[in-house]
Assembly symmetry: C2
Homo-oligomer: 334 residues x 2
DNA sequence: ATGAAAGCGCTAACAC
DNA sequence: GTGTTAGCGCTTTCAT
């Protein structure tokens, strides 16, 4: 068992007081260069690392960011988390993860934990745009940035993509490919992503003068089985195009199409929302709306860190561009 | 800004000493039932949550597990992390994530951080089986369990699958399908997974009396481009079967095959290591070695928690079964 | 500019 | 069994 080296050890080695060591370590300017050097040398010599617990007990602040998302198992969130992680790490913060499975109770519990643990800030992907428990955090002045989704009516920073526009463009692309009956595999409208993507799809139909047939929309959870079920429903509707509202739903859709012997690109033009690395392993490769997931995470963390540092900014609603990547699953030239 | 309620507030409300509150909260048995109830009532009434920083400063222990893996972006790790997470959460621990990108320097830095932060335990997927920095942790009596991979020569608990056997069976399956020249897209032999899977492949060839042609093995990093490059090499070798050593390499392999107009199942029998949810979205669906990733994570966390609680156990080397899931990409009946 | 001293909230001896 | 007390390692007044 190693003896822990404390700030007093450093102070003794550098022949200064513990207070001075603390000042040096926290970048106070009012320390004589000579003492500074002695302190730094001692720190290096003893390989000293400040005790985080003692520090946060004293300052009532930690260097921990909470990341509360629905499910780390979804590759979409994974890449965002990675972006948050990297940005946090760079600033000396660490990241603790919590999965809510879109369950409001779990979300609330984790938010409470974040408050109790006095986390420096929280990244949240809210399970619902209307019900929220962030007041626990707001009351304690803990900054929150929502990621991927927004909270309606709450004055909270957010980082999202332009879901409406991206869905509009994807639908437009299918129309350009000659599709006239485009099925939409929709997610839950309780999330802002679910509702905005649906709205974009409908708007594109209207813009092209196509009927907005409710039969062409089937919705479900943002999960594989949700996509499977919705697609199965739509197959009865004589569709000539299919647009799935997220990556997991796309998997379910492709499975169902495959099971019915329907080949994307040949028999049906298919577009998915969220571009993942395996899209290119498919035959034909998948046309998909690509979101800058890593950058979303990075930007979220950067914004959160600015709030943590106390910067005064107006409410931020960062919207990053999602772009359609056209491959072959949506082309109908045969 | 909310005022923080401390243990003294609870003590005052319950008309006992702070020490008694502490005893109740930590499950000491030597507290009179009556006082216990008063304390619990006060805790509930004040909605009290102990301050983690103060607690760990005092006890020199946290309720945080470090999870140090190569890349959270890989769906394989993702599911394991989820398993760790859930088990940890259940025991009142939280999880902090760190990505090493298979970089030994990063790994060492994170291990140091885990030690400095006095994390309760660490789950590690070592970038190398031989070089390691876990002594920082061992010296401080911080338990470590390696996950997915082992550390050679280090007396550390591990949870893995039987990579040798799984690779053996996958290869055997290809041989049964009539393959005689099976290409192997290999990962780095510096990892135990990389070397054991290669060994299993070779052993199966030998067992079937097939020549162990080194030309049939091409190796690279456990990444998409690694799989692409290795597969491109193997295409010059007149192979009739292909086995890729991990999920990302499989993506690269499928891409390369697709680009050459080679269809899995029809022109070439293909098996991948790691079964991921999109395997069924492929046409034909992918035959793959399925690992119980979530369970691996769970078991790892459970073992780690037992070590944290100080249970005396012999060195644990838990090996979970990976099983071949046969779909159509490996069948050659046409 | 630097040091001495107090105290963050909690638990673990120790005393009763 | 329960309370009193000391102190974990750090930062931050307050003196000097």
């Amino acid at each position: 068992m190693m003896p822990t080296t404390t700030i007093r050890d450093v102070a003794a080695t550098a022949a200064v007081s513990a207070a001075t060591v603390s000042r040096v370590l926290n970048g106070r300017v009012d320390v004589a260069p000579e003492l500074r050097d002695r302190v730094l040398a001692a720190v290096a010599q003893l390989n000293y690392r400040p005790n985080g617990a003692a520090r946060s007990l004293r300052t009532r602040a930690t260097t921990v960011l909470g990341v509360i998302i629905s499910d780390i198992t979804n590759p979409f969130f994974t890449s965002m988390v990675r972006g948050v992680e990297d940005a946090a790490q760079e600033a000396g913060y660490s990241v603790v993860l919590a999965n809510t499975d879109e369950d409001l109770d779990k979300e609330r519990r984790y938010v409470e934990v974040a408050a109790a643990e006095q986390m420096a800030g929280v990244v949240l992907s809210p399970a619902s745009s209307s019900h929220t428990s962030i007041s626990y955090l707001v009351d304690r002045n803990i900054p929150v940035v929502t990621i991927d989704r927004r909270l309606r009516g709450a004055p909270v920073d957010s980082v999202t993509v332009n879901n409406f526009r991206a869905a509009f463009e994807a639908t437009e692309h299918l129309i350009e490919q000659g599709c006239r009956r485009i099925g939409f595999v929709a997610g839950p409208v309780t999330t802002t992503t679910g509702s905005r993507r649906l709205a974009g799809y409908k708007a594109a139909l209207r813009a092209a003068g196509l009927p907005d047939d409710p039969q062409l929309v089937a919705s479900g959870e943002f999960r594989i089985d949700g996509g499977r079920a919705a697609t199965a429903t739509l197959l009865g509707q004589h569709i000539d195009g299919l647009f799935a509202a997220n990556n997991l739903m796309t998997i379910g859709a492709l499975e169902t199409l495959g099971a019915h012997g329907i080949e994307p690109g040949r028999d049906l033009a298919v577009v998915g929302f969220d571009d993942i690395n395996w899209g290119t392993a498919l035959r034909p490769p998948l046309t998909a709306v690509s979101q800058p997931t890593y950058e979303i995470g990075q930007r979220t963390a950067e914004l959160l860190l600015r709030r943590i540092r106390g910067e005064k900014l107006p409410l931020q609603r960062i919207v990053l561009p999602a772009k359609l990547v056209i491959r072959e699953s949506s082309l109908r030239h045969r």
